[in-house]
Protein backbone atom coordinates (compact mmCIF):
# COMPACT_ATOMS: atom_id res chain seq x y z
CA UNK A 1 0.00 0.00 0.00
CA UNK A 2 2.79 2.34 0.99
CA UNK A 3 4.76 1.39 -2.12
CA UNK A 4 1.69 1.97 -4.27
CA UNK A 5 1.18 5.43 -2.82
CA UNK A 6 4.86 6.21 -3.38
CA UNK A 7 4.57 5.11 -7.00
CA UNK A 8 1.50 7.29 -7.41
CA UNK A 9 3.30 10.39 -6.11
CA UNK A 10 6.23 9.74 -8.42
CA UNK A 11 3.91 9.37 -11.42
CA UNK A 12 2.03 12.55 -10.58
CA UNK A 13 5.21 14.50 -10.07
CA UNK A 14 6.70 13.36 -13.39
CA UNK A 15 3.43 14.00 -15.21
CA UNK A 16 3.34 17.49 -13.77
CA UNK A 17 6.85 18.22 -15.01
CA UNK A 18 5.98 16.96 -18.50
CA UNK A 19 2.77 18.98 -18.54
CA UNK A 20 4.54 22.21 -17.60
CA UNK A 21 7.23 21.52 -20.17
CA UNK A 22 4.66 20.75 -22.89
CA UNK A 23 2.66 23.82 -21.89
CA UNK A 24 5.65 26.10 -22.23
CA UNK A 25 6.46 24.63 -25.66
CA UNK A 26 2.86 24.96 -26.87
CA UNK A 27 1.83 28.32 -25.53
CA UNK A 28 5.02 30.36 -25.34
CA UNK A 29 5.62 30.01 -29.07
CA UNK A 30 9.19 28.88 -28.69
CA UNK A 31 10.69 27.30 -31.80
CA UNK A 32 11.10 23.50 -31.47
CA UNK A 33 14.75 23.96 -32.43
CA UNK A 34 15.27 25.95 -29.23
CA UNK A 35 13.07 23.95 -26.90
CA UNK A 36 11.79 20.61 -28.19
CA UNK A 37 8.65 19.17 -26.66
CA UNK A 38 8.78 16.07 -24.43
CA UNK A 39 7.52 14.05 -27.35
CA UNK A 40 10.39 15.22 -29.58
CA UNK A 41 12.87 14.30 -26.87
CA UNK A 42 11.27 10.89 -26.50
CA UNK A 43 11.66 10.42 -30.23
CA UNK A 44 15.30 11.48 -29.97
CA UNK A 45 15.91 8.97 -27.19
CA UNK A 46 14.27 6.25 -29.25
CA UNK A 47 16.37 7.16 -32.28
CA UNK A 48 19.61 7.29 -30.28
CA UNK A 49 18.87 3.93 -28.69
CA UNK A 50 18.02 2.35 -32.01
CA UNK A 51 21.29 3.33 -33.67
CA UNK A 52 23.31 2.27 -30.59
CA UNK A 53 24.84 5.69 -29.89
CA UNK A 54 23.09 6.03 -26.55
CA UNK A 55 24.11 2.61 -25.30
CA UNK A 56 27.70 3.17 -26.35
CA UNK A 57 27.87 6.51 -24.55
CA UNK A 58 26.14 5.25 -21.44
CA UNK A 59 28.60 2.37 -21.21
CA UNK A 60 31.56 4.72 -21.69
CA UNK A 61 30.27 7.00 -18.94
CA UNK A 62 29.44 4.20 -16.55
CA UNK A 63 32.86 2.66 -17.02
CA UNK A 64 34.66 5.94 -16.24
CA UNK A 65 32.33 6.54 -13.36
CA UNK A 66 32.93 3.08 -11.92
CA UNK A 67 36.69 3.50 -12.08
CA UNK A 68 36.78 7.04 -10.67
CA UNK A 69 34.19 6.39 -7.98
CA UNK A 70 35.71 3.10 -6.83
CA UNK A 71 39.15 4.69 -6.58
CA UNK A 72 37.68 7.66 -4.71
CA UNK A 73 35.79 5.68 -2.09
CA UNK A 74 38.48 3.09 -1.52
CA UNK A 75 41.33 5.57 -1.15
CA UNK A 76 39.10 8.01 0.74
CA UNK A 77 38.16 5.34 3.26
CA UNK A 78 41.69 4.04 3.69
CA UNK A 79 43.30 7.47 4.10
CA UNK A 80 40.38 8.68 6.20
CA UNK A 81 40.87 5.86 8.70
CA UNK A 82 44.60 6.50 8.85
CA UNK A 83 44.41 10.26 9.39
CA UNK A 84 41.47 9.84 11.77
CA UNK A 85 43.41 7.32 13.82
CA UNK A 86 46.60 9.39 13.99
CA UNK A 87 44.91 12.56 15.16
CA UNK A 88 47.96 14.88 14.78
CA UNK A 89 48.08 13.91 11.10
CA UNK A 90 44.47 15.02 10.75
CA UNK A 91 45.14 18.28 12.60
CA UNK A 92 47.92 19.16 10.17
CA UNK A 93 46.11 18.01 7.05
CA UNK A 94 42.66 19.34 7.82
CA UNK A 95 43.35 23.02 7.02
CA UNK A 96 44.74 22.05 3.63
CA UNK A 97 41.84 19.72 2.94
CA UNK A 98 39.32 22.35 3.93
CA UNK A 99 41.09 24.75 1.57
CA UNK A 100 41.08 22.33 -1.35
CA UNK A 101 37.57 21.03 -0.88
CA UNK A 102 35.58 24.07 -2.03
CA UNK A 103 37.50 24.22 -5.31
CA UNK A 104 35.22 22.73 -7.95
CA UNK A 105 36.81 19.61 -9.41
CA UNK A 106 36.52 21.00 -12.97
CA UNK A 107 38.81 23.88 -12.01
CA UNK A 108 41.63 21.34 -12.08
CA UNK A 109 40.80 20.49 -15.68
CA UNK A 110 43.54 22.51 -17.43
CA UNK A 111 46.19 20.91 -15.23
CA UNK A 112 44.70 17.49 -15.66
CA UNK A 113 44.78 17.87 -19.42
CA UNK A 114 48.34 19.19 -19.26
CA UNK A 115 49.53 16.25 -17.17
CA UNK A 116 47.49 13.39 -18.53
CA UNK A 117 46.39 14.61 -21.92
CA UNK A 118 42.94 13.80 -23.21
CA UNK A 119 41.00 10.56 -23.21
CA UNK A 120 39.44 8.66 -20.34
CA UNK A 121 41.79 9.87 -17.68
CA UNK A 122 40.66 13.51 -17.26
CA UNK A 123 37.04 12.45 -16.70
CA UNK A 124 38.11 9.76 -14.25
CA UNK A 125 40.26 12.23 -12.33
CA UNK A 126 37.38 14.72 -12.10
CA UNK A 127 35.03 12.00 -10.81
CA UNK A 128 37.71 10.93 -8.39
CA UNK A 129 38.19 14.45 -6.98
CA UNK A 130 34.43 14.92 -6.63
CA UNK A 131 34.01 11.67 -4.71
CA UNK A 132 37.22 11.63 -2.72
CA UNK A 133 36.79 14.56 -0.33
CA UNK A 134 33.41 13.73 1.19
CA UNK A 135 34.53 10.17 1.89
CA UNK A 136 37.92 11.17 3.27
CA UNK A 137 36.58 13.84 5.62
CA UNK A 138 33.57 11.88 6.84
CA UNK A 139 35.66 8.79 7.50
CA UNK A 140 38.35 10.74 9.36
CA UNK A 141 35.78 12.58 11.48
CA UNK A 142 33.84 9.46 12.37
CA UNK A 143 37.04 7.70 13.43
CA UNK A 144 37.92 10.69 15.61
CA UNK A 145 34.44 10.71 17.16
CA UNK A 146 34.33 6.94 17.60
CA UNK A 147 32.40 5.82 20.71
CA UNK A 148 35.12 5.58 23.40
CA UNK A 149 33.58 2.33 24.66
CA UNK A 150 34.78 0.52 21.52
CA UNK A 151 38.37 1.50 22.21
CA UNK A 152 38.05 0.52 25.85
CA UNK A 153 36.78 -2.89 24.84
CA UNK A 154 39.58 -3.31 22.31
CA UNK A 155 42.15 -2.45 24.98
CA UNK A 156 40.48 -4.63 27.59
CA UNK A 157 40.33 -7.71 25.37
CA UNK A 158 43.85 -7.28 24.07
CA UNK A 159 43.02 -6.21 20.50
CA UNK A 160 46.18 -4.32 19.55
CA UNK A 161 46.98 -1.74 16.88
CA UNK A 162 46.95 -2.17 13.89
CA UNK A 163 44.45 -5.05 13.96
CA UNK A 164 42.12 -2.85 16.03
CA UNK A 165 41.69 -0.77 12.86
CA UNK A 166 40.05 -3.48 10.81
CA UNK A 167 38.58 -5.44 13.69
CA UNK A 168 36.93 -2.62 15.59
CA UNK A 169 37.39 0.88 14.14
CA UNK A 170 36.44 0.25 10.51
CA UNK A 171 33.30 -1.79 11.22
CA UNK A 172 32.26 0.60 13.99
CA UNK A 173 32.28 3.63 11.68
CA UNK A 174 31.10 1.75 8.60
CA UNK A 175 27.54 3.15 8.67
CA UNK A 176 28.93 6.70 8.55
CA UNK A 177 31.31 5.71 5.76
CA UNK A 178 28.40 4.21 3.83
CA UNK A 179 26.59 7.51 4.17
CA UNK A 180 29.59 9.34 2.74
CA UNK A 181 29.60 6.87 -0.20
CA UNK A 182 26.04 7.97 -0.85
CA UNK A 183 26.94 11.66 -0.78
CA UNK A 184 30.04 11.05 -2.89
CA UNK A 185 28.00 9.18 -5.48
CA UNK A 186 25.78 12.20 -5.99
CA UNK A 187 28.55 14.72 -6.45
CA UNK A 188 30.69 12.36 -8.54
CA UNK A 189 27.80 11.74 -10.94
CA UNK A 190 27.15 15.46 -11.27
CA UNK A 191 30.76 16.09 -12.20
CA UNK A 192 30.86 13.21 -14.63
CA UNK A 193 29.16 15.39 -17.24
CA UNK A 194 31.59 18.27 -16.85
CA UNK A 195 34.47 15.81 -16.82
CA UNK A 196 33.38 14.42 -20.14
CA UNK A 197 32.75 17.78 -21.76
CA UNK A 198 36.47 18.33 -22.26
CA UNK A 199 38.85 15.97 -23.93
CA UNK A 200 36.69 12.93 -24.54
CA UNK A 201 35.08 11.52 -27.66
CA UNK A 202 32.44 9.45 -25.90
CA UNK A 203 30.15 9.45 -22.89
CA UNK A 204 27.04 11.34 -21.85
CA UNK A 205 28.97 14.58 -21.29
CA UNK A 206 30.42 14.30 -24.77
CA UNK A 207 26.92 13.65 -26.13
CA UNK A 208 25.80 16.96 -24.67
CA UNK A 209 28.72 18.87 -26.19
CA UNK A 210 28.22 17.11 -29.49
CA UNK A 211 24.52 17.93 -29.57
CA UNK A 212 25.28 21.57 -28.80
CA UNK A 213 27.84 21.73 -31.59
CA UNK A 214 25.30 20.24 -34.00
CA UNK A 215 22.48 22.46 -32.71
CA UNK A 216 20.45 19.36 -31.90
CA UNK A 217 18.58 20.51 -28.84
CA UNK A 218 16.47 17.34 -28.89
CA UNK A 219 19.61 15.22 -28.55
CA UNK A 220 20.89 17.56 -25.89
CA UNK A 221 17.76 17.18 -23.79
CA UNK A 222 17.74 13.44 -24.44
CA UNK A 223 21.23 13.19 -22.98
CA UNK A 224 20.19 15.31 -20.00
CA UNK A 225 17.18 13.11 -19.35
CA UNK A 226 19.37 10.02 -19.44
CA UNK A 227 21.93 11.60 -17.07
CA UNK A 228 19.13 12.43 -14.66
CA UNK A 229 17.53 9.00 -14.89
CA UNK A 230 20.78 7.10 -14.33
CA UNK A 231 21.70 9.40 -11.44
CA UNK A 232 18.33 8.74 -9.88
CA UNK A 233 18.66 4.97 -10.28
CA UNK A 234 22.19 4.95 -8.82
CA UNK A 235 20.98 7.02 -5.90
CA UNK A 236 18.06 4.70 -5.22
CA UNK A 237 20.36 1.68 -5.32
CA UNK A 238 22.89 3.12 -2.92
CA UNK A 239 20.18 4.46 -0.62
CA UNK A 240 18.78 0.96 -0.38
CA UNK A 241 22.23 -0.49 0.33
CA UNK A 242 22.82 2.17 2.96
CA UNK A 243 19.54 1.41 4.67
CA UNK A 244 20.29 -2.28 4.87
CA UNK A 245 23.70 -1.47 6.34
CA UNK A 246 22.08 0.73 8.97
CA UNK A 247 19.61 -2.03 9.75
CA UNK A 248 22.38 -4.57 10.05
CA UNK A 249 24.29 -2.32 12.43
CA UNK A 250 21.12 -1.84 14.44
CA UNK A 251 21.13 1.93 13.94
CA UNK A 252 17.60 2.31 12.72
CA UNK A 253 14.18 1.29 13.94
CA UNK A 254 12.95 0.44 10.43
CA UNK A 255 12.59 -3.32 10.15
Amino acid sequence: MKALKQLWTILVSVALLLAVWEGIVCFAGISPALLPSPFEVMKAIAELSRNGILKQNILASLWRFAVGYTLAISSGTLLGIIIGWYKPLFDYLNPVLQFLRPIAPVAWMPFIVLFWGIGDLPAIVIIFIAGFFPVLLTTARSVINLEPVYLKIAANYGVKSPSVLWKIVFPAVFPQIANSFHIALGSAWIFLVSGEMVGTQSGLGYMIVDARNNMRSDHLLAAMVVVGAIGLILDLLIARAELSILKFWGQTDVH
Partner: protein
Amino acid sequence: MYIEIEHARKTFLKQNGEVFRALEDVTLSIDRGEFVCLLGASGCGKSTLLNILAGFESLTSGSIRIDGKPVRNPKQEYVMIFQQYGLLPWRSVRKNVELGLETKKISRAERSKIAEEYLELVGLSGFAEQYPRNLSGGQQQRVAIARALAVKPEILFMDEPFGALDPITRCRLQMDLQQIVRNETHTVIFVTHDIDEAICLADRIVLMEANPGRIKNIFPVKLNRPRYRSSPDFILMRQRILREFFPENDSKIEYFI
Protein backbone atom coordinates in the same frame (compact mmCIF):
# COMPACT_ATOMS: atom_id res chain seq x y z
CA MET B 1 45.40 -7.64 50.38
CA TYR B 2 44.54 -8.39 46.76
CA ILE B 3 43.66 -4.86 45.66
CA GLU B 4 45.34 -1.96 47.45
CA ILE B 5 44.24 1.60 46.78
CA GLU B 6 46.36 4.13 48.66
CA HIS B 7 45.75 7.87 48.85
CA ALA B 8 44.29 7.84 45.37
CA ARG B 9 43.76 11.31 43.98
CA LYS B 10 42.37 12.34 40.63
CA THR B 11 41.81 15.89 39.43
CA PHE B 12 40.47 17.22 36.15
CA LEU B 13 40.78 20.68 34.73
CA LYS B 14 37.30 21.92 33.93
CA GLN B 15 36.43 24.04 30.89
CA ASN B 16 36.40 27.20 32.97
CA GLY B 17 39.87 26.48 34.33
CA GLU B 18 38.68 25.30 37.74
CA VAL B 19 40.15 22.15 39.21
CA PHE B 20 37.61 19.37 39.69
CA ARG B 21 38.57 16.93 42.42
CA ALA B 22 37.05 13.65 41.24
CA LEU B 23 38.87 11.63 43.90
CA GLU B 24 40.53 12.90 47.06
CA ASP B 25 42.66 10.67 49.28
CA VAL B 26 40.84 7.41 48.68
CA THR B 27 42.30 4.44 50.54
CA LEU B 28 40.68 1.02 50.26
CA SER B 29 41.68 -2.63 50.35
CA ILE B 30 39.76 -5.42 48.69
CA ASP B 31 40.15 -9.14 49.26
CA ARG B 32 40.31 -11.80 46.59
CA GLY B 33 36.83 -13.13 45.89
CA GLU B 34 35.10 -10.18 47.51
CA PHE B 35 32.05 -8.51 45.98
CA VAL B 36 32.35 -4.77 46.64
CA CYS B 37 29.78 -2.17 45.65
CA LEU B 38 30.81 1.45 45.21
CA LEU B 39 27.64 3.32 46.06
CA GLY B 40 27.04 7.04 45.70
CA ALA B 41 25.29 9.85 43.89
CA SER B 42 26.61 11.03 40.52
CA GLY B 43 29.83 13.01 40.75
CA CYS B 44 31.22 11.09 43.74
CA GLY B 45 34.01 9.60 41.63
CA LYS B 46 32.84 5.99 41.78
CA SER B 47 33.02 5.47 38.02
CA THR B 48 36.31 7.36 37.85
CA LEU B 49 37.75 5.05 40.48
CA LEU B 50 36.52 2.02 38.55
CA ASN B 51 38.02 3.30 35.29
CA ILE B 52 41.35 3.83 37.02
CA LEU B 53 41.23 0.37 38.59
CA ALA B 54 40.59 -1.10 35.14
CA GLY B 55 43.55 0.82 33.69
CA PHE B 56 41.54 3.10 31.38
CA GLU B 57 42.61 6.23 33.23
CA SER B 58 45.52 7.12 35.49
CA LEU B 59 45.74 8.64 38.94
CA THR B 60 46.94 12.17 39.57
CA SER B 61 48.71 10.91 42.67
CA GLY B 62 48.61 7.93 45.01
CA SER B 63 48.89 4.30 44.04
CA ILE B 64 46.80 1.32 43.06
CA ARG B 65 48.16 -2.21 43.15
CA ILE B 66 46.41 -5.35 42.11
CA ASP B 67 48.06 -8.59 43.18
CA GLY B 68 51.12 -6.56 44.15
CA LYS B 69 51.56 -4.99 40.71
CA PRO B 70 50.78 -1.35 39.91
CA VAL B 71 47.92 -0.84 37.43
CA ARG B 72 49.01 0.79 34.17
CA ASN B 73 47.01 -0.57 31.25
CA PRO B 74 43.80 -2.52 30.75
CA LYS B 75 44.37 -6.25 30.95
CA GLN B 76 42.42 -9.32 29.91
CA GLU B 77 42.53 -10.59 33.50
CA TYR B 78 40.57 -7.57 34.72
CA VAL B 79 37.48 -7.07 32.62
CA MET B 80 35.06 -4.16 32.55
CA ILE B 81 31.33 -4.41 31.93
CA PHE B 82 29.67 -1.21 30.79
CA GLN B 83 26.22 0.24 31.29
CA GLN B 84 25.71 0.45 27.52
CA TYR B 85 26.80 -3.20 27.06
CA GLY B 86 29.51 -2.34 24.51
CA LEU B 87 28.62 -5.18 22.18
CA LEU B 88 29.88 -5.01 18.61
CA PRO B 89 26.70 -4.69 16.51
CA TRP B 90 28.27 -6.15 13.38
CA ARG B 91 29.13 -9.39 15.12
CA SER B 92 26.78 -12.21 16.02
CA VAL B 93 26.28 -12.98 19.69
CA ARG B 94 28.73 -15.87 19.46
CA LYS B 95 31.38 -13.76 17.70
CA ASN B 96 30.93 -11.11 20.37
CA VAL B 97 31.64 -13.63 23.09
CA GLU B 98 34.64 -14.90 21.13
CA LEU B 99 36.24 -11.43 20.91
CA GLY B 100 38.52 -11.85 23.92
CA LEU B 101 39.48 -15.38 22.88
CA GLU B 102 40.69 -14.31 19.44
CA THR B 103 43.83 -12.71 20.85
CA LYS B 104 44.71 -15.93 22.66
CA LYS B 105 46.06 -19.05 21.01
CA ILE B 106 42.78 -20.93 20.85
CA SER B 107 41.51 -22.83 17.81
CA ARG B 108 38.34 -21.74 16.08
CA ALA B 109 36.44 -24.83 17.17
CA GLU B 110 37.57 -24.40 20.75
CA ARG B 111 36.54 -20.71 20.75
CA SER B 112 33.11 -21.63 19.52
CA LYS B 113 32.77 -24.26 22.23
CA ILE B 114 33.79 -21.85 24.99
CA ALA B 115 31.36 -19.24 23.67
CA GLU B 116 28.48 -21.73 23.70
CA GLU B 117 29.40 -22.75 27.21
CA TYR B 118 29.26 -19.22 28.58
CA LEU B 119 26.15 -18.32 26.66
CA GLU B 120 24.50 -21.26 28.35
CA LEU B 121 25.77 -20.03 31.71
CA VAL B 122 24.02 -16.68 31.24
CA GLY B 123 20.89 -18.40 29.93
CA LEU B 124 21.25 -17.51 26.26
CA SER B 125 22.00 -20.80 24.57
CA GLY B 126 20.14 -20.78 21.28
CA PHE B 127 20.90 -17.08 20.72
CA ALA B 128 24.43 -17.63 19.41
CA GLU B 129 23.71 -16.77 15.79
CA GLN B 130 21.48 -13.77 16.58
CA TYR B 131 22.74 -10.20 16.34
CA PRO B 132 22.71 -7.76 19.25
CA ARG B 133 20.03 -5.64 17.57
CA ASN B 134 17.55 -8.50 17.95
CA LEU B 135 18.12 -8.77 21.70
CA SER B 136 16.55 -6.89 24.59
CA GLY B 137 18.71 -4.73 26.85
CA GLY B 138 18.81 -7.41 29.52
CA GLN B 139 19.85 -10.06 27.00
CA GLN B 140 22.55 -7.78 25.59
CA GLN B 141 24.01 -7.29 29.05
CA ARG B 142 23.96 -11.06 29.53
CA VAL B 143 25.99 -11.41 26.33
CA ALA B 144 28.45 -8.82 27.66
CA ILE B 145 28.76 -10.80 30.88
CA ALA B 146 29.33 -14.02 28.92
CA ARG B 147 32.00 -12.26 26.86
CA ALA B 148 33.72 -11.08 30.02
CA LEU B 149 33.60 -14.46 31.74
CA ALA B 150 34.81 -16.30 28.64
CA VAL B 151 38.33 -14.90 29.09
CA LYS B 152 38.34 -16.27 32.65
CA PRO B 153 39.10 -12.95 34.31
CA GLU B 154 40.24 -12.61 37.91
CA ILE B 155 38.30 -9.42 38.46
CA LEU B 156 35.05 -8.12 37.03
CA PHE B 157 34.57 -4.37 37.02
CA MET B 158 30.94 -3.44 36.53
CA ASP B 159 30.00 0.17 35.80
CA GLU B 160 26.29 0.53 36.57
CA PRO B 161 25.67 -2.53 34.40
CA PHE B 162 21.95 -2.72 35.07
CA GLY B 163 21.34 1.04 35.07
CA ALA B 164 19.61 1.08 31.68
CA LEU B 165 17.29 -1.84 32.41
CA ASP B 166 13.72 -1.87 33.64
CA PRO B 167 13.30 -2.76 37.34
CA ILE B 168 12.03 -6.30 36.77
CA THR B 169 14.78 -7.28 34.33
CA ARG B 170 17.24 -5.61 36.66
CA CYS B 171 16.08 -7.74 39.61
CA ARG B 172 16.32 -10.91 37.57
CA LEU B 173 19.87 -10.07 36.47
CA GLN B 174 20.90 -9.23 40.02
CA MET B 175 19.76 -12.66 41.17
CA ASP B 176 21.45 -14.41 38.27
CA LEU B 177 24.64 -12.44 38.72
CA GLN B 178 24.95 -13.58 42.33
CA GLN B 179 24.60 -17.17 41.17
CA ILE B 180 27.11 -16.83 38.35
CA VAL B 181 29.67 -14.99 40.43
CA ARG B 182 29.35 -17.49 43.30
CA ASN B 183 30.07 -20.32 40.90
CA GLU B 184 33.02 -18.64 39.25
CA THR B 185 34.37 -17.08 42.49
CA HIS B 186 35.42 -13.79 40.95
CA THR B 187 36.37 -10.61 42.65
CA VAL B 188 33.75 -8.06 41.63
CA ILE B 189 33.81 -4.28 41.95
CA PHE B 190 30.36 -3.02 41.12
CA VAL B 191 29.44 0.65 40.72
CA THR B 192 25.84 1.64 41.36
CA HIS B 193 23.65 4.43 42.69
CA ASP B 194 20.89 2.01 43.62
CA ILE B 195 20.92 1.27 47.36
CA ASP B 196 18.83 -1.89 47.06
CA GLU B 197 21.04 -3.22 44.32
CA ALA B 198 24.11 -2.68 46.48
CA ILE B 199 22.55 -4.44 49.48
CA CYS B 200 21.35 -7.24 47.26
CA LEU B 201 24.77 -7.98 45.79
CA ALA B 202 27.61 -6.75 47.97
CA ASP B 203 29.78 -8.33 50.63
CA ARG B 204 30.83 -4.79 51.41
CA ILE B 205 29.32 -1.46 50.43
CA VAL B 206 31.67 1.48 50.02
CA LEU B 207 29.66 4.64 50.36
CA MET B 208 31.07 7.57 48.45
CA GLU B 209 30.47 11.29 48.56
CA ALA B 210 30.98 14.09 46.06
CA ASN B 211 32.94 17.35 46.10
CA PRO B 212 35.58 16.12 46.42
CA GLY B 213 34.97 12.46 45.62
CA ARG B 214 35.84 10.42 48.68
CA ILE B 215 34.84 7.46 50.82
CA LYS B 216 32.27 8.37 53.43
CA ASN B 217 31.72 5.04 55.09
CA ILE B 218 32.07 1.31 54.56
CA PHE B 219 29.35 -1.19 55.45
CA PRO B 220 29.90 -4.93 55.55
CA VAL B 221 26.68 -6.64 54.46
CA LYS B 222 26.28 -9.80 56.48
CA LEU B 223 22.96 -10.99 55.16
CA ASN B 224 22.34 -14.54 54.03
CA ARG B 225 21.93 -15.21 50.34
CA PRO B 226 19.70 -15.15 48.46
CA ARG B 227 18.68 -11.79 49.78
CA TYR B 228 15.11 -10.59 49.68
CA ARG B 229 14.22 -6.95 49.58
CA SER B 230 11.34 -7.48 51.98
CA SER B 231 13.31 -9.23 54.70
CA PRO B 232 13.65 -7.25 57.98
CA ASP B 233 17.47 -7.31 57.88
CA PHE B 234 17.42 -5.97 54.36
CA ILE B 235 15.16 -3.10 55.36
CA LEU B 236 17.32 -2.33 58.38
CA MET B 237 20.39 -2.19 56.18
CA ARG B 238 18.64 0.13 53.76
CA GLN B 239 17.64 2.34 56.68
CA ARG B 240 21.24 2.56 57.88
CA ILE B 241 22.50 3.56 54.47
CA LEU B 242 19.73 6.06 53.89
CA ARG B 243 20.58 7.66 57.21
CA GLU B 244 24.12 8.22 55.91
CA PHE B 245 22.74 10.12 52.95
CA PHE B 246 20.03 12.00 54.84
CA PRO B 247 21.09 12.45 58.46
CA GLU B 248 18.72 15.41 58.81
CA ASN B 249 15.76 13.12 58.20
CA ASP B 250 16.41 11.05 61.30
CA SER B 251 13.70 12.76 63.24
CA LYS B 252 11.20 12.11 60.46
CA ILE B 253 11.68 8.35 60.34
CA GLU B 254 8.51 7.00 61.79
CA TYR B 255 9.70 3.68 63.07
CA PHE B 256 12.81 1.62 63.62
CA ILE B 257 12.90 -2.10 63.42
